[in-house]
């Protein structure tokens, strides 16, 4: 199979999906696995078999198992042994995978969170040092990298490699109370979607005029809250829904938020069906919304803010 075949397969299969969020993400996983296999074969024909064990892992919306029809790529590689040969080999593989994903309509990541970038493609030793370094550096960007890395799961390769990195994060959280406050502040910029008079607030930039950014305004307060609580409760799982599942054991009213979150994912797919491929998938036109949809969106937003406030309270009180 070639990348182009997968691209075709992708457009065929994805069209069929209606509003089943889980099925859609399973299909994404299968497609991406096939793409990685082709990439591995391609690099193998060029440079031989992989010189060491490795893990190719997903981050971002793919990592959280909440991709919509179109998503960009966020991924990295962890390989076993640190040497020049391995570094060159896996960067080459990272580039090949990025290229393959891009051919198959998974857009390149603007922030370069991709295995083709040496920052996200390292040996396990280097990764350990990098993660510890990020935590020690304690800058906005380095902690953002920790949050990005935390929403991760292995798609192809050694699943325990990633666990080692999450263990480092958890150990540091045990030792240093302050880090969780810093992680909270790192995502503390909640973009308001509802105005003083209860109206929906459209984006102000030229591209988004008259639209709501569904990801930033509706989804992120949930995703960020649940990630923070996952840090706190030492949950390894990356998907927001499975994190919710675990959190219900610790926090009673999580169930209610989980339901709303599930509904948001469905609604997003519902809106995205109306879009053309070139449209920004995260922007929904306010004009096109029915008054019931508007009402529902407002409730979703309000609950998201409430959840974030609640999370803030939990973290600040108990550290």
């Amino acid at each position: 199979m070639r990348y182009e075949d997968i691209k075709e397969l992708r457009s065929d299969r994805i069209k069929v999906i209606t509003e089943d969020h889980i099925l859609l993400n399973e299909i994404h996983d299968e497609l991406m696995q096939s793409i990685v296999e082709i990439a591995v074969a391609e690099v193998k024909s060029e440079l031989g078999s992989p010189p060491s064990r490795f893990a190719f892992f997903l981050m971002g919306s793919a990592g959280r198992f909440e991709q919509s029809f179109w998503s960009d790529q966020d991924h990295g590689i962890i390989y076993e042994k640190s040497n020049n040969e391995n570094a060159n080999y896996f960067i080459r593989l990272g580039k090949e995978i990025s290229k393959g994903l891009s051919i198959c309509d998974y857009d390149l990541c603007d922030g370069k969170v991709m295995a083709s970038n040496p920052l996200w493609c390292k040996s396990i030793d280097e990764w350990e040092r990098q993660v510890s370094g990020w935590l020690t550096e304690d800058s906005w960007q380095s902690l953002r990298n920790i949050s990005i890395l935390f929403d991760s799961r292995v798609l192809v390769g050694e699943s325990d490699f990633l666990r080692v990195l999450k263990d480092i994060i958890f150990k540091r959280l045990d030792k240093e109370q302050n880090i969780i406050f810093r992680l909270l502040d790192n995502v503390g910029y909640v973009k308001k979607g509802i105005g003083f008079f209860g109206q929906l607030l459209p984006e102000t930039n030229s591209k988004g005029k008259g639209h709501i950014h569904i990801k930033e305004k509706i989804l992120f307060p949930y995703v960020n809250s649940v990630r923070l609580l996952a840090f706190k409760e030492r949950i390894y799982l990356p998907s927001t829904l499975s994190r919710f599942n675990h959190l219900t054991a610790f926090y009673k009213d999580m169930k209610e938020y989980e339901e709303t979150f599930h509904r948001i994912l469905e609604l997003r797919l519902h809106f995205q069906k109306r879009l053309n491929e070139d449209d920004n998938v995260n922007l929904i036109s306010i004009e096109a919304l029915s008054s019931n949809e508007k009402k529902e969106i407002k409730i979703m937003m309000k609950n998201g803010y409430k959840l974030f406030q609640k999370t803030k309270g939990i973290i600040q009180q108990r550290g």
């Binding site: 922030g111 949050s147 929403d151 503390g188 910029y189 930039n205 990801k215 930033e216």
Partner: protein, 423 residues
């Protein structure tokens, strides 16, 4: 109608506009001294908070200062609006306007401590609290019928009332807000978060310098006797001496004639002479300005060493120079001028330690009061508002975008915002 009465009123209204225009000086000074991503915010919030200060001053501020009350606070003349009244030889409303402009200046100075990281809502709430309580109480003590006025405290145009009060609020704010991201390294060493436009800063200083003639000369409250010319003379000399002294000291100690320090020297000279302009000889004004220029540099270094972030140097320029200016009359007040404008002669004119003592009590009590009350207000705000500082991300993208939705310099800023975690 008495032509002198009319002239006085015309003069003071002109001085009011000069003092109001000093806000333009602050806009340029603050915007120039901070980074590009906050320029629109820092300029725009000044206009907005002058609005808040004006309404609050009209409603309660003026009454708390000049109303009938006790030694601590005035308690009448709220919602000022009597067109028949006469105060200090001026129409009441003329006097009111002049006083209002001073209150707004004190507030803008206080906001120097908020720069580049406070939430917009924090500006709103603190503008109300400061204009309603902090400033009026100190102003009442010294300029109203307060206990420091009874002691004979000399503060002609407000080194203490306006500048020190503002600076103490700025100090409380900057301590509570903590330093801007990147100002200090983990080992405590400071970084220079350079302002984005020295030309703005210099123009800001010039606008302030010009406005200061309304501030100081206008504080004669009339044209009778034309004493304002003398006050203006002292003001000019001190500002000039401050600029020269500051440039000299920074050049002598660092080898470079740093521009922001020089500009702060001019301002320190102006702040220092504000209390003393009507009490001292011109040679003393030069000395007061020189010392102002020297201590402002020392103070800038001191606060940096203490790891207190003072983005617009409000603590040094208005605080330390304000203290020096107030105390300076205790040394330099001449017997003739003290007899004319209140209080006693200074130490160097055989007045002994009396006036120096009064000035010191005034500085300590007013400074402490303004600091403690501002600190309490801000702490309460932190609790109620869930913090008064923007999130780290907002601080990094700049308050222009985070709080106002557009950049002051749109062409120079990225159009795409920062990447969210794993977006």
């Amino acid at each position: 109608m008495d032509p002198i009465y009319l002239m006085n009123n015309v003069f003071i209204i002109v001085c009011f506009t000069l003092v109001l225009l000093m806000q333009g000086g602050f806009i340029l000074l603050e915007a120039g001294s901070t980074r590009m991503k906050n320029a629109g915010h820092i300029a725009g919030k000044t206009i907005f908070t002058v609005g808040v200060a004006s309404i609050v001053f009209w409603a309660v501020g003026y009454g708390f200062i000049y109303g009938e009350g006790n030694a601590f606070i005035g308690l009448s003349d709220f919602f000022f609006g009597d067109f028949t009244s006469e105060v200090d030889g001026l129409a009441g409303s003329t006097d009111f306007m002049f006083q209002l402009a001073f209150a707004a200046i004190a507030l803008t100075i206080a906001f120097g401590g908020f720069a580049e990281r406070a939430k917009l809502t924090a500006y709103v709430v603190f503008a109300i609290a400061f204009s309603a309580i902090v400033y009026p109480v100190v102003a009442h003590w010294i300029w109203g019928d307060g206990w420091l006025a009874d002691l004979g405290k000399q503060d002609f145009a407000g080194s203490t009332v306006v500048h020190l009060t503002g600076a103490m609020a700025a100090l409380a704010a900057t301590i509570i807000l903590k330093p801007r991201i990147g100002k200090f390294n983990k080992d405590g060493s400071p970084n220079d978060l350079a302002g984005h436009n020295q030309v703005y800063t210099a123009l800001g200083v010039l606008v302030l310098w010009v406005g200061w003639f309304g501030f100081n000369a206008g504080s004669t409250l009339g044209v009778d006797g034309a004493f304002f010319g003398y006050v203006a003379l002292n003001t000019q000399l001190a500002a000039a001496a401050g600029a020269i002294a500051a440039m000299f000291i920074v050049w002598a100690l660092s080898g470079k004639a740093d521009i922001p320090t020089t500009l702060n020297g001019a301002l320190a000279g102006l702040v220092a002479i504000t209390a003393s302009c009507a009490f001292v000889a011109p040679w003393a004004a030069v000395v007061i300005g020189v010392i102002g220029g020297l201590i402002v540099y020392a103070s800038m270094k001191f606060f940096e060493k203490m790891q207190i972030d003072d983005p617009i140097f409000a603590l040094s320029v208005h605080g330390i120079a304000g203290i020096w200016g107030t105390i300076s009359t205790g040394f330099f007040a001449t017997p003739e001028l003290a007899a004319m404008n209140g209080g006693e002669a200074g130490l160097f004119y055989g007045g002994g330690l009396t006036q120096l003592g009064v000035q010191t009590i005034g500085v300590v009590s007013s400074g402490l009061f303004a600091f403690v009350l501002s600190f309490i207000i801000l702490k309460v705000m932190v609790t109620i508002m869930g913090g008064i500082r923007v999130s780290e991300e907002e601080e990094l993208i700049g308050l222009d975008m985070a709080e106002h939705g557009s950049y002051g310099y749109p062409e120079n800023m990225p159009t795409e915002e920062n990447k969210a975690p794993g977006a």
